[in-house]
Amino acid sequence: MADDLVLTRLVGRPGVTTLEGYERVGGYLGLRKAVTLTPEQIIDEVKSSGLRGRGGAGFPTGTKWSFLPRDVFPRYLCVNADESEPGCFKDRYLIDELPHQLLEGVLIAAFTLRVSHAFIYIRGEYRAQRELLDRCVAEAYEAGLAGRGILGTEWDCEVIVHGGAGAYICGEETALIDSLEGLRGQPRLKPPFPAIRGLYGSPTVVNNVETLSNLPFIVLEGGAAYAQRGTAASPGTRVFCVSGHVERPGNYEVPMGTTTFRDLLQKAGGVWKGRALKAMQPGGGSMQILGPQHLDVPLDFKAVADAGSSLGAGALVVMDQTTCLVDVAKRLVDFYHHESCGKCAPCREGTYFESQLMHRLEAGIASESELATLSDICANMDGRCFCPLGDTATWFVMSAYRMFPDEFLAHCGAGRCPVRAARPAAA
């Protein structure tokens, strides 16, 4: 059903990563149309599309835009391309395949919000993607699509690509802003929210790469056309990054709400090697675990929340029957321990404590009472940290413990990992 696609429909067209190739397949028609509309008209289209942020929190995009105070300038747009969530690689894909589609979306948002500068903050490790974007931005300037007097109008907008220095926390919107300003990338106290006081103290909108990549379609085809995809509660499509124990890991764009986890898994060729599914983690490393019993849950914000997890940043990590959940939890906890920015005590010390315990547990040298300690620590972090990083550092491990208590218990005092020991030698 290729018609259903929005974001990836142009992937693979010849030369589409160049300006010329992109324009050949209708690129920048959205922007050309946008400049003939008023900002209010565009915001209305975005609102009627029902588009919600794809960066993780799922905040309605049109509503976020309308928080900007009237007539306060300059304003800034920050494009969040920091993509560091474990299991997420959709933004990289969208940049690699359709860099001009992102750029067109950025310019549409910039026009609508009347920002003077749009900053694309891209994850430091995405060097090739940064170079690609630099090239595309140069092409856009050359063609009068960015810079001064865009498309012959009075409107000016500079587009700047800025590379991060390799910190997960810099994907959090206020840490991103601090990092962009040249400060230590650490989250800011809210309020004030970026819409009121963001980059350089000015009103600022931060949007994810995928969120913005939807805009050319929404402006050109109308919000209603976008909302036809998916369901009323979860309109549109999303790119899901499927990884782990599947036959064909990769990015899959599917309509939300009408697709289930099972459908998505099938697209990726099912669990590899003909094995059974043990668990899956939607949303990226931060989100709670789901099991085979959740396969028929639709990819809908509310349905997944009801199942006890979240669509988060649009990932799906699949784990087959041989997976040791304690091991997976240990690796994820290590990630958060490594990435904790150190600003607040519960996350800084809590992730360290968690990580030490998980290592003991995985090695089979922890006692049973340490499981209670682990639960205690997580309870003291969740909802008490300065930003969601510390809160979510507990979600996977606690949900895995709840779903597989016996597996956690079996590790205690076992002297080694019982799951690994039970694996057939050839596996």
């Binding site: 404590f353 340490e370 003291n380």
Partner: protein
């Protein structure tokens, strides 16, 4: 009706069931304090903006599912705050466990042991058991020398950000930064450079734990061995309040004490680390008479009598006007008042002063600006570098005026042309002009130009020595009696007195030391050697002591009771922090005794408190200064 109009300013917050009224914009933390409910904090600090990083203050608010930081949440009308719930108790316990996880627990050898918020809260709210045996501690550097004044123990640091914010918000110097990430985060000097600030000594005080330590005090005392005496910093005339912490007869440290109108809680390093000067080894311990022979130690009464007899014979031989009296700006108001009484009423000489420079053309405008009022000026002009060099804490007030109130602060050199200086404050309607007394001439000219252009102008003049202002107010001047009543006859000023000693015009000098303002003059030693009779009252072996015919031991400021007046006219109390180890009469007593021996018609009171009563009667502007208020400036006569 008017009450209703005023009431929207106040809102009601319910803290643990108790309603309290607070102004709009109050933080929950402050509302709790107002309700008498203590909330433990680490990162929050009354003088710093909230950051909410330590999480120690989390409380329950209304129906919000998550605990909220009291230190960073603005109270709203009807808000219900709960600090004593099981959820809060459990969290505090857990958070203290986190904070102690990588803490070295070396309280037994820590300077802060006994006055540490980590110790205190761990005891009050902590888990009372440890689970850290199952983790390995992360170790850090235990003695990072940040400068010759400050040593940082990175291991004890709980990363509250107070020190870095102090540098960002209070001094603006940004000398400390955070480095590394997560559990490896450390406080470190910016680019490894040693700290240069004039205000480093405040760091160990903003630090809630024993991470930032004074090099001077490190491992020297435990807090419970110290005796604390509230006093005034003797470093300059700005009037910062402080506590003198002593152990036996030794002054161990100066600790700041928040007087919002003056110091705002801060001290400069010169003042703070000047505490060592009070333990000088070269003390004068007993009275000594050396008149025409080798020095002999004597009882006080005998030495006073010998001094009076010698003085009387100079007077009868050469006349009263051949005697001069030189006080010091380190004297208390009570001492200064009695000294000028001794000079004028008993000896009968017009030659009396406390400093070298002449002090003429006095106008009440000179002292019209209070420190607290600086922040209310639209524009502030600092004339000359000497004002801030003399009273460094002034710089912090100026920075606050700029940063918090958006005031315009300009600085001009002391040799600039007045018209050009005045251009810096042009257009402002409320102007503050600040200068050292050395630059008062230029400051007066600039102020006059601003007044002529319609601005309302206040002036603050930084005087010499801790009590230079009091000495002037109380007539230790050749041209003014107490309360700036002009004298009929103008005597010699400080420099004239020293010259007179050398030329023979002055035959006898009664001097009180030490006198930093006079010691700066090169001729002091020669003048003291030349004068026929020198009577010295001094606590240390200074030039006066070297050449005196009669020496009476004086007291240091830490050994005195009385009042001193700061540059802005604030009359503040100094108390006896160290009791001299021998039975030394107070200097007021010595001077009164000398007056009695010289046949004073009316005896002077010997107790400082009684002298202060006399001052309040004699000098109207001192009438209502009790409790550390500013002397209300009366009309000059």
């Amino acid at each position: 009706m008017t009450d209703v109009a005023r009431s929207p300013e106040l809102i009601t917050v319910i803290v643990d069931g108790r309603p309290v009224q607070v102004p709009v914009g109050t933080l929950v933390w402050d509302a709790c304090e107002k309700a008498g409910v203590f909330v433990p904090v680490y990162c929050a600090h009354k003088k710093l903006d909230p950051v909410a990083v330590c999480r120690m203050c989390l409380v329950e608010i209304g129906t919000l599912p998550k605990l909220q930081p009291a230190c960073a949440t603005v109270a709203s009308d009807g808000m219900e705050v709960r600090t004593r719930t099981e959820k809060v108790r459990e969290f505090r316990e857990g958070n203290l466990e986190f904070l102690l996880l990588n803490h070295p627990l070396d309280c037994p050898v820590c300077d802060r042991g006994g006055e540490c918020d980590l110790q205190d809260f761990a005891l009050r709210y902590g888990p009372g058991r440890t689970r850290r045996a199952i983790t390995t501690k992360v170790h850090f550097n235990k003695a990072v020398r940040l400068s010759d004044k400050i040593v940082l123990d990175q291991e004890r640091c709980i990363l509250c950000w107070r020190c870095t914010r102090y540098y960002d918000e209070v001094t603006g110097e940004k000398e400390l930064v955070l480095q590394e990430r997560g559990v490896h985060t450390v406080v470190a000097p910016f680019e490894g450079r040693p700290l240069q600030s004039m205000f480093q000594g405040n760091l160990p005080e903003v630090c809630p734990v024993g991470a930032l330590t004074h090099a001077q005090y490190r491992f020297r005392a435990r807090p419970w061995d110290l005796r604390r005496t509230p006093s005034v910093c003797p470093g300059c005339s700005y009037g910062c309040n402080l506590n003198i912490d002593t152990r036996e007869t030794e002054v161990v440290r100066f600790a700041s004490s928040d007087k919002p109108e003056v110091d705002d809680g801060w001290l400069c390093d010169r003042g703070r680390y000047g505490s060592g000067d009070l333990n000088r080894a070269d003390r004068v311990r007993s009275p000594e008479v050396r008149l025409g022979g080798p020095g002999r130690s004597m009882a006080y009464s005998e030495a006073i009598e010998a001094a009076a007899t010698a003085l009387a014979s100079v007077i009868s031989e050469h006349g009263r006007e051949r005697v001069a009296v030189l006080g010091t700006p380190l004297m208390t108001n009570e001492e200064a008042f009695v000294l000028q009484w001794l000079a004028r009423e008993v000896i009968g000489t017009p030659h009396v002063d406390h400093q070298l420079l002449p002090w003429t053309d006095l106008s009440p405008a000179e002292f019209s600006l209070g420190i607290e009022e600086i922040e209310a000026c639209d524009a502030i002009l600092v004339v000359g570098e000497q004002a801030e060099a003399t009273a460094p804490v002034l710089t912090l007030r100026l920075y606050k005026a700029e940063r918090k109130s958006g005031r315009r602060v300009s600085r001009v050199p002391g040799d600039i042309e007045a018209g050009e200086a005045a251009r810096r404050i042009a257009g402002a309607s409320r102007v503050g002009v600040i200068s050292h007394e050395r630059d008062r001439g230029l400051a007066a000219q600039v102020a006059a130009i601003a007044v002529a252009s319609g601005a309302s102008v206040g002036r603050l003049t930084i005087t010499v020595g801790v009590n230079g202002r009091g000495c002037k107010d109380l007539g230790l001047l050749p041209n003014y009696r107490p309360g700036y009543v002009a004298t009929a006859e103008v005597g010699l000023h400080g420099r004239g007195i020293l010259e007179g000693c050398q030329s023979g015009e002055i035959r006898a000098l009664l001097a009180v030391g030490p006198n930093p303002a006079v010691e700066a003059g090169a001729d002091l030693d020669r003048a003291c050697a030349a004068v026929q009779l020198l009577i010295a009252i001094t606590p240390v072996r200074d030039a006066f002591w070297r050449h005196a015919g009669v020496v009476l031991p004086g007291r240091t400021i830490a050994e005195k009771a009385g009042t001193v007046t700061s540059s802005e006219g604030r009359v503040q109390t100094v108390r006896i922090a160290v009791h001299p180890n021998i039975a030394v009469p107070s200097e007021v007593g010595l001077l009164a005794g000398l007056g009695a021996c010289l046949g004073a018609a009316r005896p002077a009171p010997t107790a400082p408190a009684a002298v202060l009563e006399e001052i309040r009667t004699a000098v109207p502007s001192y009438a209502a200064t009790a409790g550390g208020l500013r002397a209300a400036w009366g009309k000059l006569r």
